[in-house]
Symmetry: C2
Subunit: 557 residues, 2 copies
């Protein structure tokens, strides 16, 4: 089989105006970025807001393993399959970050015959949204520290600056830094650090906002420091809101691209689901719901991260919940959860698969029973899967009364997703939807964290560090007690320990730090050793990337 | 009179495809970015390379003062005036950096009725070129330090890393930093720092390269560190070239926009002329020279900086030199050089103007006599200028046998530049052009620096710090002795002391640091206290910027 980039390069793309036409958009709604990408006007939603919504198909997955599970290709493939069945469908994905693209993971535009195109552009700078977030974030940091250096009228305590800096890069060296060295002309020494841009509160705001006025309010509400007398300092106090909003004026418009089979796709906003809230922009999703009868979207990582955050944070803002959930599993990933080493995953091993189903079952129980959502398990087929293994997994799902479909969208595109798409349609027509979030907003912040930890992750309890407990108290006093919680946690386990596979029991969630994303509208709890700035591996993916004189790119995947 | 942004917002823009048509470009040559901006294919130059070049009109200025001199609006206005005279003309400018836009200076897209449009986009993220440079630069920094942390096969001495990081922001706090704090998991403590992106060697390369193969060679040649045994380490040793080139694949294509009167304009590449080489991309200029009969371009700051670097660095790469130079002066700026305080510049003061002409005369002597170029002085009219002052300055130029024209392009657009355009055309037809660079490349590096300092700046001598002298020796031993020199120096004076106005004498140039931009192909000498990362003022321009719900921007100028 060809590589992802080879398949992408052989594809014959349709002009973005044609794709827009399929979505019912006119040329006036578009700002083209080249021939195959366009920003879509925010007016579209306002024009259509009284139209009923299409159905929302939410794609999530089992806990990731190095074996891969194939969530994005399943989302793309389901879209393509619904297209093949003649449905009016749109896809909503997040924008890839350059950190993973040049680090370990590679690109994030699907794979095989289920990709969004133009994959090179989407995986690189795309339409500049992430760079806009980086710039707005760092402008605020520069203005904040400049304010202190230039007289500090706001009486900001330099040891209590919350606002750090961001870069769209995996650079562990920037996690903890000291700035302002070299004497008075160079400012003043302060502790600082860089997060990866996708973890910026501004990225969260971009994905949760509904328009320019709301964007400015949220930017102004960002809590950036405390004064010497313990008063909160907000971004609006630094007169930075207008400039940040101007920097984000194009970034808030959703980006229209296409699937390999020509369905329209919004790729907009890029928070990770481990260190942020992990879902594409509300502006994209709610616009797509007006334009299409079926909207396929995905959350980051497994259902304990991206999906939990969609259900408990995003759904409350957009006032829309999924009509059906696709839970992506792969035989290889489940065998890995069952204890098989990476180099033995190609060997048939029903026992390990059976053990690994504990991970799948916990996600099913969470999404289907606890959140009350109709569910289809998608078995994302890999070449090494045996018939016996596939049959075992089908039977397992049948035994527990859960819809299941084999998905061959990577090898076959939409054609390979017909069974899955038909199950999705069937679930939408016949299955009950009793959606409710896992916690009530009226609970105290620590209890909301505890509910997610116990009900979703299945921790025995939560241990708050002294610093975290103190922050929870302060933030509650400041009036943030009714906000939802966004837990930052490793994606590699239900627990906060990446080595615990399957469905770990008998452990406690360690919350080491708590902070407010007051503009985004949630409280962030950092659990375990999760880092908000990744590092590069010994051999970064960047080393394999190249471009020829004629512009042909190789090594990007 | 309306503000710059009000004039820009009232302008009726032509579709970029129409502008392209005027330049002889087809739709196939374009990648549109919205309706009014487009990237132009590198194939255009290759297709037209055997065509004779148009005439190159190079715009420079007297030494800047807080009073302003109006170089960019003169460049735009001259283009518009040549257009009014029925000439086939194109403009080439640099891209504005967000640092000055949100710092002190404001935008850089001209002013009044002589602007390039869409001014908001050009002054903000534009087509993302500067962000691409930032990303490529910081990817290399991350890969370099990651290499050391992950085993250091190349035996790099962590105390001899040359490659720092960049950000397109004025943030003095980032000038000198320590990274990698917090223990082993966060890397290793190293000294680092951020320059503003426009000072990145990659920005210089973007502006000096001729295409993808040359770009990759130059990126690979960048000197980034030394090993423990004193051997140079290049970017290519870190396998970073392909990924950087991929990140720059769109950034190397020139950006097409339009003047307020509809002439096509390339706005491409953005090095400052004080801390970098200060001229737009060669790819833009050489393409424009094939498309138009007249190409107007400008260098940064005064003729001792941007113009010197065009004449001694850029001209040798592109193998093209200016056919005529416009030297922009303003009555206010010259009075400021003559010793008048900022708050008295609106009062008529012929004596001060006469004294300030020392600055003008030195630039004239340099450009006209030393570099051998035809010259027109443009008096950029301000409302406070008196007839007597204008007449004095005209007479002064007449007395020394130099062409002069009054330019009213800010108030009147192209119509206000007719006299100037006619002088330019006349100079092109009648004046001798005996262009030669100021130094021969075969001179030792220190002598090349000395020639510029003595002949152009009029220093008595150059004082090299021990560190600078040592670097010059090392770089010569490494084979860089034949490269041209790029002196980083304050723009506010011919000297390295910003307080010395007019034409200072009896001073020495202090070179504190020397480094190689081996990929760009020049040696950088840092003189005086020049900083490669600016800071914000007490009240940054960003505080005045705002955007309304309907997208209307205010406060950007």
């Amino acid at each position: 089989m060809l590589s992802d980039i080879e398949i992408a390069q052989q594809a014959k793309l349709q002009l973005i105006s044609e794709i827009a036409g399929k979505a019912g958009l006119s040329e006036d709604d578009l700002e083209p970025y080249g021939k195959y990408k366009a920003k879509v006007s925010l007016d579209v939603y306002n024009r259509l807001k009284d139209k009923p919504n299409g159905k929302l198909v939410y794609v999530t997955a089992v806990t990731p393993t190095p074996a891969g599970e194939g969530k994005t290709c399943t989302a793309v493939g389901t879209t393509q399959a619904l297209g093949k069945l003649g449905k009016n469908v749109m896809l909503c994905l997040r924008e890839p970050s350059l950190g993973p693209t040049f680090g370990v993971k590679g690109g994030a535009a699907g794979g095989g015959y289920s990709q969004v195109l133009p994959m090179e552009d989407i995986n690189l700078h795309f339409t500049g949204d992430i760079h806009a977030v980086t710039t707005a974030h760092n402008l605020l940091a520069a203005m904040l520290e400049n304010h202190i250096v230039k007289g500090n009228k706001l009486n900001i305590d330099p040891t209590r600056i919350i606002w750090k800096r961001v870069m769209d890069m995996n650079d562990r060296q920037l996690r903890k830094i000291v700035v302002g060295l070299g004497g008075k002309a160079n400012g003043m020494p302060l502790e600082s650090g860089f997060d990866i841009t996708v973890a910026s509160e501004i990225m969260a705001i971009l994905c949760l906002t509904t328009g320019m006025t709301d964007l400015k309010k949220r930017l102004g509400d960002m809590l950036v420091a405390y004064t010497y007398d313990n008063k909160p300092v907000y971004a609006r106090d630094l007169n930075a809101v207008g400039a940040m909003a101007v920097l984000l004026k194009d970034a808030i418009k959703p980006n229209l691209v296409q699937t390999l089979e020509g369905q329209p796709a919004f790729v907009h906003g890029g928070p990770f689901a481990n260190i942020a809230h992990g879902n594409n922009s509300i502006i994209a999703t709610r616009t797509a719901l007006k334009l299409a009868d079926y909207v396929v979207t995905e959350g980051g990582f497994a259902a304990d991260l991206g999906a939990e955050k969609f259900f408990d944070i995003v759904s409350r803002v957009i006032d829309v919940h999924p009509d059906v959930v696709i839970l992506v599993a792969s035989i290889r990933a489940l065998k890995s959860h069952g204890g098989v080493d990476k180099d033995k995953l190609s060997e048939e091993n029903i026992d390990a698969l059976a053990r690994g189903c504990a991970n799948l079952d916990q996600h099913i129980d969470n999404v289907h029973n606890k959140y009350g959502l109709p569910l289809v398990v998608a078995i994302n087929r890999f070449p090494s899967d045996t018939e016996a293994e596939i049959e075992f997994l089908r039977q397992h799902c049948n035994d527990i009364g859960i819809r299941v479909a084999l998905s061959e969208v990577v090898a076959k595109g939409g054609e390979g997703g017909i069974e899955l798409a038909q199950q999705v349609i069937d679930a939408l027509e016949h299955d009950e939807n009793n959606f409710k979030p896992i916690y009530d907003l009226d609970l105290p912040l620590e209890d909301k964290i505890r509910v997610v930890a116990k009900e979703v992750y299945r921790a025995d309890d939560v241990v708050f560090s002294n610093s975290a407990a103190k922050s929870l108290k302060t933030l509650t006093q400041l009036g943030y007690g009714k906000l939802p919680v966004c837990i930052a946690k490793t994606q590699m386990s239900f627990s906060d320990d990446p080595s615990l596979k399957g469905a770990p029991r008998g452990w406690k969630l360690n919350v080491r730090e708590v902070k407010a994303s007051a503009g985004a509208g949630f409280i962030v709890a950092l659990a375990g050793d999760i880092m908000t700035m990744p590092g590069l591996p010994a051999v970064p993916a960047a080393e394999k990337v190249d471009i020829a004189e004629d512009g042909t790119i190789t090594g990007l995947f």
